[in-house]
Every structure is written in structure tokens, then in C-alpha cells.
């Protein structure tokens, strides 16, 4: 059945957006793809540049085994074909941040072939997006255009850092799907430890190919939006670009295949005139390198070390912990979240753990702008809090107060409960005394409650208030029921 919900309405009818993505993901490695220069982010300009990275005369590339392993790992994570033989090509073009005058990449024979990724949509549906290929290539350096009135400055620290370019098929039909795809790829890479997925630092960025067509028609002409560096911007760029293309076509124009840039301040895409110039990259196999060949045993050995990936983890959370698919999806969307949850849930009430993690905990992190690794509350502490609820030391309501304090101070829940005297009153005598006190002070309410059993609720509130919320609510209800027999029949 055709899903029409993503169509965009133009003046002349419905249009379908078609998208394919190219994700550039920086490989986690100590040194660069073809040189021994370090890869850390944020170093002073040109301090992480080897003789090879600066393309000094006579320098030669030697491939980094870790980068190859990471690419294979990622390929396995994308359920993709791993090619036992691949070839590195030179992509030739001139640019100041490309010292060799060519980028070493893989054109005809990439290390990874076709694969598939299941994306999770907000309505709970999933959808398969096909991967066309993944290949290894060198990153370029960085050109700074705003440091000097007439000069551009070049920093080659990134030059030669290993990238994986992951290319999808044009299988996405809405901005949400494209965003979900990027999120899913990022989650998989993080699970695998092959890319840190940090889009702000540029370790992951996407080129989005957008075209529009009448539903059922052939693919339209596409525009490529280069280097979009956040998931939010990907959504905005697609929404804008699709609208723009519909307007152009509906005005009787045609879409010109071109490279565009997303201006996040103005929220628009613009044609990149500098890239308008005809390109002819003259790919050919790099004669300084040899074909990259490895065995199936090598691939199998890497496969044996693969961690549980998000989809499998989600299925397990549903079956093992009895979580809803939605909650499981939220928890596995990031490796750190899933790990935190499992630490909390271990040996405890998993559903309660899930509620606390996805509810109070994520809410507090969000509000404070913190991430799991910077959270003031550890999984162990949150688990301890849940234990206090389960063994009736505190009530669920008090627990929320305790959690707030934990989040502010980083203290253990037991300590907070003790210091603040928040231990739940389960002593029936003490609760009964409180009830009697409230009843004695409010004879009129007692009368009303006898007549209108719903008024008993008022007593619950008063008793809780009198005990600063520490009275065990079940005990209060039970004792009050004994005082007001009709309630018991209710």
C-alpha cells in the first residue's frame, strides 16, 4: 500500500520527496589512514601533520590496519557485503586543503557493498533503508576564509584522517525518515565503536540528495546538499529544498542538478557557485598502493567481536524485560542509554527501571542539558532509589523528591532519606494516631465522610500532610477503611 502521508501538497497536486544520503563518518583510530600522524580533535594548526599528510615530494602512503578493521566492523553492523578484495583510487582535483592534489578513496571496488538498515519512526513503525556501499577515504584539511582580508589559511591537521563514506539508496521519503536514518547510523557506529558520531566536531556529516516527483513517476533531478552537520539541520534543509524544488517545477521551471549548501542561519539552501565548475575527477587506482585483500577468516574473527546492536537489543529488551517496543526503542537509541538502563534494571523491577530512566532521569538530563556520561546520578544510585521504593522505605512520591535532590547534589538516595528523615512511616500505630488526630480535629468531616464515602479521600490527604508525606499510602488507606466501614464495601 502506498503511504501518502509524506506527500507535500503543491498548487498543482501532490509531490513525493525522494532522498538518498551520503554519510561521512570519521573512523575511530589513533593515527591517520595512510600516515602515522595523530587524529585527536582540536590540536593547534598544522601540529598533526606528517610529511605524508603535507604531500611533500617523495612521500608514500601506508595503510592503517585499524581503519580497515573498523570499516569491516561497520560493514558487518550494516549487515552488508564485505568485499575480500577492494582497491584504492585517486580522486584528482585541486584545492588548497587537498595537499596531494588527489584524495585517496575507493571508487570502483569499495571495501563494503550492499547492506540494510532498519530505521525507527516516531509512530512506532520501522522501515528498511538499503545501503549501496561503504568505502574508506582520506579527509581533507581545513580552509579558513575569515582570518585575513585577502588570504585563506590552511590547516592540514585533518588531512588524511580516515573517513568512512556510507552511501544509502534513494529510499527515504520524508525529512523524518532521513533524520531517523542518520540517527540509526550514528547509533550503530557508536555501538560498534567505529565512529564517535560527534556531529558538532565534524566527526559525522551528511550530504543529502533531494529530488521531488509526482507519486509513481520516474525519479526527478536531484540536488545535493553538502556537509549538513546536525540532525535538526538535515530536517530543515530537506523541508526547504523540497519546497523550493516543487515551487520551481510548478512555476514551469526545471531543476538543475547542482551542489547546494544549507545556510542554517537563514534556514535556506543556496547554490554553491564554486562547485558549479565542471568536475572530472579522473579516478584511477593509486599506483602507490596495492589491492586490499583479506580472508573470510579475518572477517569472521571481527564478526565474533561484534557487540549486540540496537535492533537486537531492542528485541531483547522487549522479550527479556517486558518493555513496550516504544520504551525499548528509546532506550536502545543510544548505546549509553541502553547500558545505563541495564545497569539500573539488573536484579530489580525492569519496568520500574524503564519508567524511571525514560521518565524522571531523561527528563532531568534534558532539562539540565547533560548527557549520560556527565550525569550527576549514576545507574547504581538510581537503582538504589528504586530499591528504596520496592522495600517500602520511601513512597513513589517521596522518591521523586529524593531524585531531585540526588540530581542536585549527587548524593546517594539512602543518605538523603536518612538526613532528611524521609523514611516512610509504616508503623501502623503511628499512622493510626495521626488518623485519630485528624478525625478528632475535624468531627464535621467525619460526619460527612460517613455520609459520603468519597470524602474519605480528604482524610488520606490530611494524614499524608500530617506525616509530611511519609506515611505509607497503602497503610493509610487500609486503616481509614477500617474507620469508615462503607469504604470497604466501595
Amino acid at each position: 500500500m502506498t503511504d501518502t502521508s509524506n506527500y507535500i501538497e503543491g498548487l498543482t497536486g501532490s509531490w513525493e520527496i525522494v532522498m538518498g544520503l551520503e554519510i561521512h563518518a570519521q573512523v575511530v583510530s589513533n593515527s591517520k589512514l595512510f600516515s602515522g600522524a595523530p587524529t585527536e580533535f582540536g590540536a593547534e594548526q598544522n601540529t598533526q601533520v606528517s610529511l605524508v599528510d603535507a604531500a611533500l615530494p617523495g612521500m608514500l602512503p601506508v595503510i592503517n590496519e585499524k581503519c580497515v578493521e573498523q570499516a569491516v566492523r561497520t560493514g558487518l553492523g550494516l549487515k552488508a557485503q564485505v568485499n575480500l578484495r577492494s582497491v584504492f583510487d585517486r580522486k584528482n582535483y585541486f584545492y588548497p586543503d587537498l595537499p596531494q592534489g588527489y584524495q585517496i578513496s575507493q571508487f570502483k571496488y569499495p571495501i563494503i557493498g550492499e547492506g540494510i538498515v532498519e530505521i525507527d519512526l516516531s509512530n512506532g513503525d520501522t522501515k528498511d533503508v538499503r545501503i549501496e556501499r561503504l568505502h574508506l577515504e582520506q579527509d581533507a584539511g581545513k580552509s579558513l576564509h575569515d582570518q585575513h582580508p585577502s588570504m585563506s589559511f590552511v590547516d592540514l591537521n585533518r588531512s588524511g584522517v580516515a573517513l568512512m563514506e556510507i552511501v544509502s539508496m534513494p529510499d527515504m521519503r520524508s525529512a523524518e525518515e532521513a533524520q531517523a536514518f542518520v540517527k540509526k547510523i550514528r547509533a550503530i557506529l557508536r555501538y560498534l565503536g567505529t565512529c564517535d558520531g560527534n556531529m558538532e566536531q565534524g566527526s559525522m556529516r551528511a550530504d543529502v540528495n533531494v529530488s521531488v516527483r509526482r507519486p509513481g513517476d520516474e525519479l526527478g533531478t536531484r540536488c545535493e546538499i553538502k556537509n549538513v552537520n546536525s540532525i535538526r539541520f538535515i530536517g530543515q534543509a530537506i523541508e526547504y529544498e523540497a519546497r523550493r524544488q516543487v515551487e520551481v517545477i510548478e512555476d514551469g521551471g526545471t531543476i538543475k542538478q547542482e551542489t547546494r549548501l544549507f545556510d542554517s542561519k537563514a534556514g535556506v539552501t543556496r547554490s554553491m557557485r564554486s562547485k558549479e565548475e565542471a568536475h572530472d575527477y579522473r579516478y584511477f587506482p593509486d599506483p602507490d598502493l596495492l589491492p586490499l585483500v583479506f580472508t573470510q577468516e579475518y572477517v569472521d574473527a571481527i564478526a565474533a567481536t561484534l557487540p549486540e546492536l540496537p535492533d537486537d537489543k531492542k528485541a531483547r529488551f522487549v522479550s527479556e524485560y517486558g518493555l513496550s517496543i516504544y520504551d525499548a526503542g528509546v532506550l536502545v537509541s543510544e548505546k549509553a542509554r541502553a547500558e545505563f538502563f541495564e545497569d539500573v534494571a539488573k536484579g530489580r523491577d525492569a519496568k520500574m527501571a524503564s519508567n524511571w530512566v525514560t521518565g524522571e532521569f531523561f527528563g532531568a538530563l534534558n532539562k539540565a542539558g547533560l548527557a549520560i556520561d556527565t550525569s550527576p546520578v549514576s545507574a547504581k544510585q538510581l537503582g538504589a532509589l528504586i530499591e528504596l521504593i520496592k522495600d517500602d522505605t520511601i513512597s513513589g512520591r517521596i522518591a521523586k523528591d529524593v531524585f531531585e535532590i540526588m540530581f542536585e547534589t549527587g548524593d546517594d538516595p539512602a543518605k538523603i532519606v536518612e538526613e532528611k528523615g524521609l523514611r516512610q512511616v509504616t508503623d501502623l500505630g503511628a499512622i493510626e494516631a495521626a488518623i485519630d488526630e485528624v478525625m478528632a480535629a475535624n468531627p464535621d468531616k467525619v460526619q460527612q465522610a460517613i455520609e459520603k464515602p468519597k470524602m474519605v479521600g480528604w482524610f488520606v490527604g490530611q494524614v499524608m500532610k500530617a506525616t509530611s508525606g511519609k506515611a505509607n499510602p497503602q497503610a493509610v488507606n487500609k486503616l481509614l477503611a477500617a474507620k469508615f466501614p462503607p469504604l470497604a464495601e466501595d
Binding site: A55, P57, G58, V62, N92, P99, D280, R282, P287
Partner: protein
């Protein structure tokens, strides 16, 4: 020529060890000879002070009996090899004033064995040429002249400075590089021995690249034994070069037994080309007879794709060069000609920095790699290369080594071919096949042309079998007993 500079490398080496003279004395003799030979334009940079300093250190080691295999041996280095803190420009304007902060693996190996750097030698710009005339530093001149004729001749190319220096006794031996014949052709033109090792035998790290899949460093020397000694020091596995072969380096000098009885020498009929000078043909026949007399068995073999080697080479080499030379853009080193914008700067810099031959090859290379032409040219040429390799493999089922002429003609005059790229390219017709197949080859001086110029015979060996190649070359050398030497006209 002093008595000291008359010696071969192996003789000098032995006498240094025997303390018959010091490395400083030997080096000083060469330094003086170099100064006296400036009309040859063989050296583009003389490093006399450094040479004497290195010689002094060699003497100290020799004194202690700790000398390396080449201790105190003064060498000239082709300007394609990067030498630390010593200007290296590949004789191109675009690398003006470039001073590397690193030492090429081959030269590092030589210095580790105790050799002494006399200076940097002239070559065709980026090794693109067969006459040394494309050098930005001007042509090197062949020490040889035609009988009764003072026309200045080319020393061959691209390693023209290397061949001229050895022939003129202004270096004991030299390093060179061979992409299509750039070691063997200059050796043939100057009456010297030129050895192109198997691709992967000598590391390319730090050697300015012309065509990566074809370039191979090797020595030019006065004798086959010298070549064996030089190769032993230059060769070796280098983890910094992916194409370097991780195989042991044999003792090549020990391979020079002089015994080739039972060796099968292949004679490829396709090397008998139209228009080849009768004297070259006669020399080839002479070589066959010499080897036969030494006990070798002569076998006729066929290398059917030989005629396609040169055109395939002139697709593959320019294609790789067009990409290898993209780094010379004025941004990080060398010449920069300012422009209105970055593209203008690139275009002006490269137009001013590259000579005509380099431009021609970069443009042909760019063309054959461009979309729509890649399959028809580059892929086609690489397929032909496969066929050429297979030809050799088949021939080596029947023989151990091949004997051919090195060049179709003796040395020609400076300026005679420079305006005709194709006839210049034809110089490499017999040498280029070994590069395409990655095989080792050696040129040995074997006789003189009618007008008194040296002629070379080439042996092509099996992959990584430089031992058989050198052993056979040694026999050829002995039989030829080539003792002719150029008159030292340049000393006038």
C-alpha cells in the same frame, strides 16, 4: 684524471680498508675533478664541504675498523632523491629552493653504509626525458664525442648527470632512477653500467615520483661488480613504501662467479626492429656469440606484444605523472606565482614552474584519465601491460635471462631530437618493457659505434633474480673488455 679517480668503486673500497689512502684524500680528488668538469653540467649542486666532512667521519670509522660496506666511497646522487638539508629540486623550476627535512630511504641506506655525498646530479625535469635536455638546470653533456667531431652529445636521460659523472670519473658511482629506461639508456650512451632492479627491490620513499608503478632506483657504475656492491647497499625492505618487497637482499658480489655454463639466454625476435642501425644488430650478434662461448645456451623466444610497450608506457606513465605532479601547486613549497585568485595562482605557478615536456606529459596524462577516455586509453594500456608481462612469463619458461640491445642508436647531439617528442620517446623502445613488467634489467658497455661512441647490450632478468642478471652481465663485460674512455676535453 688522478690515479685515485681512475679506480673502480670496489678497488677504491678495498684500498680504503687497506689504508692505502684516506677517504678524505679520495674525496678531495673527486671534489677537484668535479670542479674541473663543470662544463659537463653533471652536478646541479656540489656539496664539497659536506663531502669532506663525511669523509673525515669515514676515516675515523675506517681507522677503528668499523667501516661499512661503502665506507668513504664518494657518490653522486640524482636530484630526484630527497637529501636532508640539501637542496633537491628534481631539476624543476617548480621546486625552486626546496630543501627536504628528510632523507630518501635509498640514500639513507648508502650513508648508513658509510658512503660520501659529492653533490646532486642533473636529470631531465622530474625524470621526464631521454637526453637530460628537459632539465631546468640546462642539459648535462656527454663526456664522449664522435670521432673527429666536437658536437656536444647528450648523456642520455633521464639520469644524464648520473651517467656523465660516472663516465667522466667525477663520481665513483651514482644513484639513478629508471621509469622507462632512464638508467640503462644513459649508461649505454656513456659506456657505463646501468642497473634497474626489480620493481620493489629498492625503496621509493623519498624519491620524487614520476610514475609510481614504473619508477625504480638503481645505480650507474663503471663495472658490473660496482653495480653489485651498490645494489646491495641501496636495496632492502622499507615499511614506508607499500610497494617495497619484503624479501632478503642477497650478496650480489658473491653471485659474480663468471660461470654461466648451461644458462639459457633468450633472444627475443621482436627486438629486431625496422630501421635499427646495422652496427647495433652486429653488436647484438656479438653478444650472443660471447655468451655462447662462455657456455650459455641460446634460445629463440618471442615477446609478441613488444611493439605495444612504448605506446602503453606513454599512456600509463603520463597518467600517473599527471596525478603525482598535482602536489606542485605553489601552496606548501617551491615556486609560487601570485594570481588574482587561487585557480589563477595554480595555473600561473604550474605554467611557469613546469617545462614543456612535463606540461606535455601532464596534459596527455590528464586527457587519458578523463571521463570517457579512461577505458579506451588507461585501462587499455594496463591490459596491454598484462599481456607484456605474460609474454615475459612465457619466455622465462624457456630461458633464464634475455639479451637485447639497450638502445636503437648511440648518443645523439644536444638539440637534435628535442622538437620531436616521438623520436625522443623511441629511445626507450628496448628498455621500457622491463619497467612495464617490473623486471630487472642491466646495460653493459659492449662496443663502439663506427663513429666512436659507446654502445650497450641489455640483459633482462626474472623478477628478483638480479643475481643471474649480474652474473651474466659480468661475463658479458669480461668478454667485451670495454676499455675505451672519452678524452677529457672538458678539462681544457
Amino acid at each position: 684524471m688522478t690515479e685515485l679517480t681512475k679506480l673502480t668503486l670496489t678497488e677504491a673500497r678495498d684500498k680504503l680498508v687497506a689504508k692505502e689512502f684516506t677517504a678524505q684524500e679520495l674525496t678531495q680528488a673527486y671534489v677537484s675533478a668535479i670542479e674541473a668538469a663543470r662544463p659537463l653540467n653533471a652536478y646541479v649542486l656540489e656539496t664539497a664541504d659536506k663531502a669532506l666532512e663525511m669523509a673525515k667521519a669515514s676515516d675515523a670509522r675506517l681507522q677503528k675498523g668499523e667501516g661499512g660496506a661503502l665506507e668513504g666511497v664518494p657518490l653522486g646522487i640524482k636530484d630526484l632523491f630527497c637529501t636532508k638539508d640539501v637542496r633537491t629540486t628534481a631539476c624543476s623550476h617548480i621546486l625552486d629552493g626546496y630543501v627536504p627535512a628528510y632523507e630518501s630511504s635509498v640514500t639513507a641506506n648508502l650513508w648508513a653504509d658509510g658512503a660520501v655525498l659529492l653533490g646532486k646530479l642533473n636529470n631531465d625535469e622530474f625524470a621526464m626525458g631521454s637526453s637530460n635536455e628537459t632539465s631546468f638546470e640546462g642539459p648535462a653533456v656527454n663526456p664522449w664525442r664522435r670521432k673527429g667531431d666536437d658536437t656536444q652529445l647528450v648523456p642520455g636521460g633521464s639520469s644524464g648527470g648520473s651517467s656523465a659523472a660516472v663516465a667522466a670519473h667525477i663520481a665513483l658511482a651514482t644513484t639513478a632512477t629508471d621509469t622507462g629506461g632512464s638508467i640503462r639508456q644513459p649508461a649505454a650512451f656513456t659506456g657505463t653500467v646501468g642497473l634497474k632492479p626489480t620493481y620493489g627491490r629498492c625503496p621509493r620513499w623519498g624519491v620524487i615520483a614520476f610514475a609510481s608503478s614504473l619508477d625504480q632506483p638503481g645505480p650507474i657504475t663503471r663495472t658490473v661488480r660496482d653495480a653489485a656492491v651498490m645494489l646491495k647497499s641501496m636495496a632492502g625492505f622499507d615499511p614506508k613504501d607499500t610497494t617495497s618487497a619484503d624479501v632478503p637482499v642477497p650478496d650480489y658480489e658473491a653471485a659474480l662467479t663468471g660461470d654461466i655454463r648451461g644458462l639459457k639466454v633468450g633472444i627475443p625476435k621482436e627486438y629486431r626492429v625496422d630501421g635499427m642501425a646495422a652496427e647495433i644488430d652486429a653488436l647484438w650478434q656479438q653478444g650472443i656469440d660471447w655468451l655462447k662461448q662462455a657456455g650459455a645456451e641460446i634460445v629463440d623466444v618471442s615477446l609478441p606484444h613488444t611493439k605495444y610497450a612504448l605506446p602503453a608506457y606513454y599512456i600509463v606513465a603520463p597518467a600517473e605523472a599527471s596525478s603525482n605532479l598535482a602536489r606542485y601547486d605553489g601552496v606548501r613549497y617551491g615556486l609560487r606565482v601570485d594570481g588574482d585568485n587561487i585557480t589563477d595562482m595554480y595555473e600561473k605557478t604550474r605554467a611557469a614552474g613546469f617545462g614543456d615536456e612535463v606540461k606535455r606529459r601532464v596534459m596527455v596524462g590528464t586527457y587519458v584519465l578523463s571521463a570517457g577516455y579512461y577505458d579506451a586509453y588507461y585501462i587499455k594500456a594496463q591490459k596491454v601491460r598484462t599481456l607484456i608481462s605474460q609474454d615475459f612469463a612465457k619466455a622465462y619458461e624457456k630461458c633464464d635471462v634475455l639479451l637485447t640491445p639497450t638502445t636503437p642508436t648511440p648518443a645523439f647531439g644536444i638539440g637534435e631530437n628535442i622538437d620531436d617528442p616521438l623520436s625522443m620517446y623511441l629511445n626507450d623502445v628496448f628498455t621500457v618493457t622491463a619497467n612495464l613488467a617490473g623486471l630487472p634489467g642491466i646495460s653493459v658497455p659492449a662496443g663502439l659505434s663506427a663513429n666512436g661512441l659507446p654502445l650497450g647490450l641489455q640483459l633482462i632478468g626474472k623478477s628478483f633474480d638480479e643475481e643471474t642478471l649480474l652474473r651474466t652481465a659480468g661475463v658479458l663485460e669480461e668478454a667485451a673488455a670495454f676499455t675505451a674512455a672519452p678524452e677529457a676535453w672538458w678539462r681544457a
